[in-house]
């Protein structure tokens, strides 16, 4: 039962514990274990992320109380595992769980969220820009089906695969350099600054992607047949460039390029082109459109026109160049620890004892185990 003296003791204990690097509490009951977690979680500022690891039934309240609960399965039964968020087989596995998988997944999810925002900002702003030329009557620049397919189709597989497979440092390096874990603790990959950067990138990309084809098309004939092709080919041209740019942008973001990555980025692009061609066939051109059969033959006419391919090439390069330069400058002249370790990991820079010397950026398998001494 908490009373005044008891509460004061609690806070004295907390203030004292905060000054220590580690605190060992023994002979504590399960409820007291839970109270320790609550104390740290609720009365520390800034509010920390708490994790509890336990292997027995007496650890269950503590596991439930913390933000992240890890249960060890084994000798003391499955109680801890059943109440935990993560289950591992040995205490020692905690290290790779946090330093390798925890870190990887933090990086992955940060990019997945930011990229999803970026690509939609890109798409929607282009629709908004068209308002300037359509008297702000909200005419859609793109056909309904091609537009609706953007998130579940043309730009879907790439980012999902990225979120599963992306790995910026090999297992060995991550384990050897636990200081890297601070990136997550300090929210370096997922904060307002990062958000602003991606959002601005989206705005810049869309400015190129929309205004370049428009400038080329205003009052001019951009078709080798001499005809003015109208709204749908114009919009599809822009959307095709957008889809290609958005998928290749992910390639820029990927730190480990696998065949799966290349395949999934290409898939989005191929799916779009294939989808637009299918939609342009007579029976399918009434599918999911406001005006049936309006999309008939559009993709064929567009793709036969060499100028549209040139415009797409131009736009994609223009969209990717600023991001490419920004990444290059940041990584080369303002490198973070992870950047330098990645270079070491790939065999750049000699003179590392016990380090890997294989593959200067060549294809190699990410193996666990191989320790890399970086300092």
């Amino acid at each position: 039962q908490a009373n005044e003296a008891g509460i004061k003791l609690m806070f004295d204990f907390l203030n004292f514990a905060k000054k220590c690097k580690a605190v060992i509490a023994c002979r504590v009951s399960p409820d007291q274990k839970r109270q320790v977690v609550t104390l740290v979680r609720k009365h520390t500022s800034p509010a920390p992320m708490t994790m509890s690891i336990g292997d027995g039934a007496n650890d269950v309240p503590m596991i439930l109380e913390a933000h992240v609960g890890v249960g060890i399965s084994g000798n003391e039964g499955m109680q801890a595992v059943r109440s935990a968020d993560y289950a591992i087989a040995q205490f020692a596995y905690l290290q790779p769980l946090m330093l390798v998988h925890g870190r990887d997944n933090y990086k992955r999810i940060s990019v997945v969220v930011m990229y999803s925002l970026y690509k939609n900002c890109f798409l929607v702003t282009s629709l908004f820009y068209y308002g300037v030329y359509s008297g702000f009557t909200a005419t859609a620049l793109y056909d309904s089906l091609m537009l609706a397919g953007f998130n579940p189709g043309w730009s879907f597989v790439g980012i999902i695969l990225f979120g599963i497979v992306e790995k910026d440092l090999s297992r060995g390096v991550a384990l050897q350099n636990p200081e890297l874990y601070r990136e997550g603790i300090e929210n370096r990959d997922f904060n307002m600054g990062v958000l602003a950067r991606w959002a601005l990138a989206g705005l810049l990309s869309t400015t190129f992607c929309f205004f370049i084809p428009t400038a080329i098309a205003v009052g001019k004939i951009a078709s080798s047949t001499g005809q003015d092709d109208g709204l749908l080919p114009f919009g599809t041209n822009i959307l095709q460039a957008l889809v290609i740019a958005v998928n290749l942008r992910l390639l820029l973001e990927t730190n480990n390029v696998t065949l799966w990555s290349l395949g999934s980025y290409a898939f989005g692009i191929v799916l779009f082109i294939f989808g637009s061609l299918l939609h342009s066939l007579w029976p399918l051109s009434s599918f999911f459109t406001k005006v049936p059969f309006e999309y008939y033959d559009v993709a064929m006419v567009l793709n036969k026109n060499g100028i549209s391919w040139l415009i797409q090439l131009l736009v994609v390069v223009m969209v990717l160049i600023p991001d490419f330069i920004a990444k290059y400058v940041r990584r080369t002249y303002f490198p973070k620890a992870a950047d330098i370790l990645r270079e070491l990991d790939n065999g750049y820079g000699g003179g590392t004892e016990g380090g890997r010397t294989e593959g200067k950026g060549g294809i190699h398998a990410n193996e666990d185990g191989k320790a890399l001494s970086a300092l």
Partner: protein, 359 residues
């Protein structure tokens, strides 16, 4: 045998996929930018030179910046004027003839969707369905308008004819065919029940020519006589009735100028193909067009122009595409040089462990 809980060991599930970790070294980046410059600058210059070879002449005949006064203030005014194009250089044909409009928003949201594709295809569509799809211009009094909608009933009504006798080279003709998409044939068909027959004289009776008894007569501009029949004439106002003299009853919605108009333009300044003049032209050749202005644009500050243009492999006269390529190529080149200089002046050694900062 106990089922095993051991996770599958394949590379994908164990995150052990063979991967290539791209490291942006200055060399690689510089090479990439140089490659872009090397690809883009010549491409841009080729596009520019192709665009420069295109011959284009534009005459605004109704608008604030008109050079020929053919402006009208009432719809259907029928003012006739002449526009003469004199070639300033030798030009290899065909020369395409366009009309260009400014400040006309064919891309207005309600305009673009105001049409009934089934009616245009020739099907009979009920009035309530037409009201949903077209929203405007569905009926005219007690008549149903076929085709309904804003696009069909705002057809461009100016007529351009080429004065063959006075143009040089003589006997140049304006070919008004092949201006719409080939695939439009499927979308635009005469109403089902429509019948027509070319005849030598109007002496024959409708039934003798296989038409219903109340068929009508029509003679086109070349003197060819036709008998034709539209179903439900008493209840429906067909396109040839909405635009007498402009749309022949034989063509109806399959008229190419109509099909071109029915494809809404993407931007408020647009050109639409009217026809082409075959043949090659020499400097000082002239093409004389007679314009009958019926389409009133003054009330919304629009303008109309007649345009001649040849078409190269990369479209009409369009320097922006070439310029954009050259500009991007030059920007790439600039960055390539910038990075070379920076790398020579103050490089950052790769994988320099002393740079690791653990803050």
């Amino acid at each position: 045998m106990e089922p095993s809980n051991r996770p599958k060991g394949d590379a994908f599930r164990q995150q052990k996929l063979t991967a290539w970790q791209p490291i942006m070294t200055p060399l690689k980046v510089v090479v990439i930018f140089f490659a872009i410059a090397v690809c883009f600058i010549p491409t841009g210059l080729t596009l520019l030179s192709s665009s420069n070879e295109v011959y284009e002449e534009r005459v605004v005949y109704d608008g604030s910046d008109q050079t020929v006064d053919c402006s009208i203030t009432t719809e259907g005014q029928g003012k006739v004027c002449t526009i003469q194009f004199t070639f300033t250089e030798d030009v290899d044909g065909p020369v395409y003839v366009y009309y260009e409009m400014e400040n006309f928003y064919q891309n207005h949201r309600r305009y673009v969707s105001s049409r009934d594709p089934f009616q245009l295809e020739g099907d009979e569509v009920g009035k309530s369905d037409l009201e949903t799809s077209c929203d405007s211009f569905v009926t005219n009094g007690s008549l149903i308008i076929n085709p309904c909608g804003l696009i069909a009933n705002s057809l461009f009504t100016d007529v351009f004819t080429l004065d063959s006798t006075n143009s040089i080279p003589q006997n140049s003709t304006l070919d008004e065919s092949g201006i719409a998409w080939a695939s439009d044939d499927v979308k635009f068909k005469q109403p089902s029940g429509f019948k027509s027959k070319a005849v030598n004289n109007f002496g024959t009776s409708c039934t003798a020519e296989g038409l219903p008894v109340d068929c009508q007569q029509y003679t086109d501009s070349s003197g060819q006589k036709y008998l034709f029949y539209y179903p439900d004439e008493d209840d429906v106002q067909y396109l040839y009735e909405s635009y007498p003299g402009l749309i022949s009853p034989i063509d109806g919605v399959t008229d190419e100028h109509f099909k071109v108009w029915m494809r809404p333009a993407a931007l408020p300044t647009f050109r639409k193909l009217y026809g082409k003049v075959e043949g090659d032209f020499q400097a000082n050749d002239t093409l004389i067009f007679s314009v009958t202005a019926n389409y009133e644009v003054d009330s919304f500050d629009g303008s109309k122009a007649l345009l001649l243009s040849t078409v190269g492999e990369f479209g009409g006269k369009n320097p922006y595409l070439g310029v954009a390529f050259v500009v991007v190529g030059c920007i790439s080149l600039m960055f390539a040089l910038l990075f070379v200089v920076k790398q020579m002046v103050s490089p950052r050694a790769k994988a320099d462990a002393s740079l690791l900062n653990w803050t």
